[in-house]
Amino acid sequence: MGFSWWFDSEDVSTESFFKFLPRKYDPNLEYASSSERVFLEKKILDPDRSNPQSSVHSELIRLSEKEKDQILNSMALCVEQCLGDSKSFNIPHSEELLSSELLEILDRTLKIRKKLVK
């Protein structure tokens, strides 16, 4: 598809992509709007659209991943607020918290990502 230039890395791990804990909240993360993503989805799926453009595809994936980062950053903030300053509790690892089925689906999603952006 020719938009791998913006792709983080072919070797991006599930842990890094899905921001596994323990992880610090990033206060400087750019805001992502879901309405912008939904607008692009409609544009891509519009049957009357003339030429499919890979730039629109790459923009949709970029927006989806920005939204993902924002959702997971808000999770990191909540965990930090709950446990971050505590001397009594440890911040757990995501691998301990998520079910094996969910972990497997996260891995499969990363495999699909690699194929789609090639």
Partner: protein
């Protein structure tokens, strides 16, 4: 199929009750209480309708759109599952420190059902993209 994790993680405790004074124990319980209230406001099942609208994947456009939705819905599910499991662990710890069951419980069944249903929907959509890719 087991969707929710067994409590492999029973506790978030970094300390033992036997090493704490009554005053320190009370401080820890306040910490847990504060955290549970924070979690309660964050653990909101719902607002994840997009994958409910299953998209049949037969071309590249549909595959890209489906993938984008999967990524967003999965991140919501990771968010919800993570906080739900931390909430469960903190409740175990509160029981350990106080011997009492906690108040202001969230609707655990609703959250668990939501996680199970969402995972099924996302899985179905994921399989459709995988099939289109020839996996």
């Amino acid at each position: 199929m087991r969707i929710l994790p067994l409590t492999s993680l029973n506790s978030l405790r970094a300390i033992s009750r036997s090493k704490l004074s009554k005053r320190d124990s009370s401080k820890v319980l306040d910490e847990i209480d504060h955290s549970l209230l924070l979690l309660k406001s964050e653990i909101v099942p719902g607002n994840t309708q997009e994958v409910q609208e299953f998209l049949e994947v037969e071309n590249n456009d549909q595959a890209i759109v489906a993938f984008g939705r999967i990524v967003v819905e999965l991140s919501k599910l990771v968010h919800l599952s993570t906080l739900t499991e931390i909430d469960n662990s903190l409740r175990m710890d509160m029981l350990y420190f106080s011997g009492n069951v906690v108040n202001h419980t969230m609707d655990k069944d609703s959250s668990s059902d939501h996680i199970v249903n969402q995972l099924k929907q996302i899985s179905k959509q994921l399989v459709s993209v995988e099939h289109w890719l020839g996996e």
